[in-house]
């Protein structure tokens, strides 16, 4: 499709532009207010655990550059450790929750069978498994399993919810055009469920990061950013602790960003607006 130069002018909307400007200004104001308040507090309170923003920024960069002797690694090493566990746990959860969820949503019998098991395990917070998983699966696969559980259940619930909430008239229409269960599934239910899957993934990502931080703090073995936060706090270097929290936040934002990117791609391919 050729781009139409008129369009740029035609759709340029002065009010909308100004409204956007306003929004940006408010947003910036909010951030500035926050940083100013933080800085003021840090000076006023003068407490080790309320370092000033510039100290945290300094710690952030230092943590990447300098190897922490007593850990034998720098922030990159910790990120790698966390990201590895996270990635593996997440992929396994995705690979299992998608088919199981779609099948449970779609086939009554499968639902009847699996539901009691799911309901048995789902209420147990994934974090509660940390100690025993560390014991059974060790310091690498233990946290991986915790993340797996953390991502698996919210994703599964969302997939099932998605499948069950498909508009009845759309199913009706597809059936009158001869869709059997498989095509119904491929052409109506799955496209309809994509947004639900993506919501599940976003929730799952959040819970996943929480799980890994908790696992690394509770087990406090095998490194990772969670461990780094815990360790920095325990030796009273609070600016490094906040730097670690910022790193986790950035990792979280990054993974959510990737998932949104995939969502957009998928939506475009599926033709969903």
């Amino acid at each position: 499709m050729k781009d139409n130069p008129l369009r740029i002018f035609g759709l340029f909307n002065r009010e909308r532009f100004l409204a956007n400007m306003n929004q940006t200004i408010f947003g910036i104001a909010a951030i500035v207010t926050f940083i100013a308040a933080w800085w003021g507090f840090s000076i006023y309170l003068n407490l080790a655990y309320v370092p000033s923003p510039d100290r945290v920024v300094w710690a952030f960069f230092t943590s990447f550059e300098k190897t922490e002797i007593s850990l034998g690694t720098n922030m990159w090493g910790n990120i790698l450790a966390s990201l590895q566990r996270f990635g593996i746990g997440f992929v396994f959860a995705l690979a299992l929750a998608l088919p199981v969820g779609l099948i449970m949503g779609f086939i009554k019998t499968a639902d009847s069978f699996f539901k009691p098991l799911v309901e048995l395990f789902r209420p147990i917070p994934p974090v509660a498994w940390v100690p025993i998983f560390l014991l059974i699966f060790g310091i690498f696969w233990g946290p991986v399993m915790v993340i797996f559980l953390g991502v698996f259940f919210p994703l599964l619930s969302n997939v099932i919810f998605g499948v069950k909430s498909v508009d009845q008239p759309l199913i009706d229409a597809a059936r009158t055009m001869g869709a059997n269960r498989i095509t119904l599934f491929k052409k109506v239910i799955f496209p309809y469920t994509i947004p639900f899957i993506m919501t599940g993934i976003t929730i799952g990502l959040g819970i996943g990061w929480m799980c890994i931080v908790a696992a690394e703090m509770i087990g406090a073995v095998g490194g990772g950013v969670g461990f780094y936060i815990f360790y920095s706090e325990s030796i009273g270097r609070y600016e490094f602790m906040y730097a670690g929290m910022a790193v986790i936040a950035i990792l979280g934002i990054g993974t959510v960003g990737v998932s949104h990117y995939v969502e957009n791609k998928l939506n475009r391919r599926m033709g969903v607006k």
Binding site: P131, G138, I139, G219, V221, S234, I235
Partner: protein, 339 residues
């Protein structure tokens, strides 16, 4: 040891805070007392934040504390070569311990300075604090009959507390204590000489910032031993995962196969040997004494802690046992804060 009668209304509350954070908790007013290991006791005492209620050796003279344990499985150590490795780690630990004891006794000199520095770096505490802490820790390795008797005694206390319900098949606590202590490696040690070649490697666990386990830190310091670790000097490559938070986690490390040997307190070793049936043996003592109950200044007696909160490293630790024992001795009931 029996719990105080329920009519006893004298209650002291406890909460779990890692020793490394106990001083901050005292300062913040979160707790009014703490029981922990060195150097964190001295850390709180030296600047006046805390005052001594009682040192552990005043309650249990010469009580054993940290030990080296080795994991037993079908795979390790079941042949002479592996046994050699264990013996050589024990030997290196022994050499390092002796070096520490001599250096402390010397009280000054370059060795003393670097010892203090190592301690400060390892535990993240000022040098002056490390200096006084070292005065409260008894570094020794021999698993004497008295030590075994103490193990048996602890085991009995755990049984009384209901934390264990059997003795892993042994008829009494003495038999159990004998069974989990293996003195053969200590016996081999005197004959072991440094090795020019590396004979094998051992995964070794340890606790975060615990100065009781100073010998490992010293042994790992390459500048003291001609460019290699003391373990390497004795032909063993030692690798460690990140430090463990507590002895229970070290035991889990054994169970998961992450480590072959480890430094830990004797209570978690006993508890998990029985409850979780984790096959370990204690092959060397690491230290005795070196723990204390302290109060937030001016508190310096148990009675002043009545109705207040004391921080402990957790109910599986020897420090917790000490507090519990001392409270009972003085007619107080220990209760978890917030429940």
């Amino acid at each position: 040891m029996q719990p105080a009668a329920s009519t006893n209304k004298k209650i002291i509350y406890w909460t779990q805070i890692a020793p490394v954070q106990q001083k901050a908790a005292l300062l913040a007013g979160t707790v009014d007392g703490a029981v922990g290991w060195e150097p964190y006791c001295s850390d709180a005492l030296n600047d006046g934040t805390g005052s001594v209620v009682v040192w552990s050796d005043q309650v249990w003279p010469e009580h054993p504390c940290c030990v080296i344990a080795v994991r037993y499985s079908d795979a390790f150590p079941n042949n002479p070569a592996d046994n050699q490795l264990v013996a050589r780690v024990v030997k290196a630990n022994m050499v390092a311990t002796n070096w520490i004891v001599q250096t402390i006794n010397a009280g000054s000199g370059t060795n003393y300075t670097s010892l203090i520095q190592m301690g400060a770096q390892f535990s993240g505490i000022q040098a002056s604090v490390v200096q006084s802490a070292l005065g409260h820790i008894e570094y020794s390795n021999q698993l004497t009959p008295a030590v075994k008797a103490a193990f048996a005694n602890f085991t009995g206390m755990f049984a009384d507390l209901g934390q264990i319900s059997n003795l892993a098949g042994y008829p009494n606590t003495t038999a159990f204590a004998n069974a989990i202590t293996n003195t053969s490696y200590l016996a081999m040690a005197p004959d072991i000489q440094p090795s020019a070649t590396i004979l094998g490697s051992v995964h070794l666990g340890y606790l975060n910032g615990d100065l009781h386990q100073f010998a490992r830190v010293v042994a790992m310091n390459t500048s003291l031993w001609g460019g290699k670790t003391l373990f390497q000097d004795y032909g063993v490559n030692v690798t460690s995962p990140a430090p463990y938070a507590n002895g229970g986690a070290v035991m889990d490390g054994f169970a998961a196969g992450s480590i072959d040997m480890g430094y830990l307190g004797c209570p978690p070793a006993i508890l998990k040997r029985i409850n979780a049936n984790i096959q370990i043996q204690i092959v060397s003592l690491v230290n005795s004494e070196g723990s204390a109950i302290i109060g937030k200044t001016p508190i310096n007696s148990l009675s002043q802690l009545e109705g207040k909160i004391v921080a402990t490293p957790g109910p599986a630790s020897i420090q917790h046992l000490l507090l519990l024992y001392y409270c009972n001795l003085n007619g107080y009931q220990l209760k978890l804060k917030g429940t």
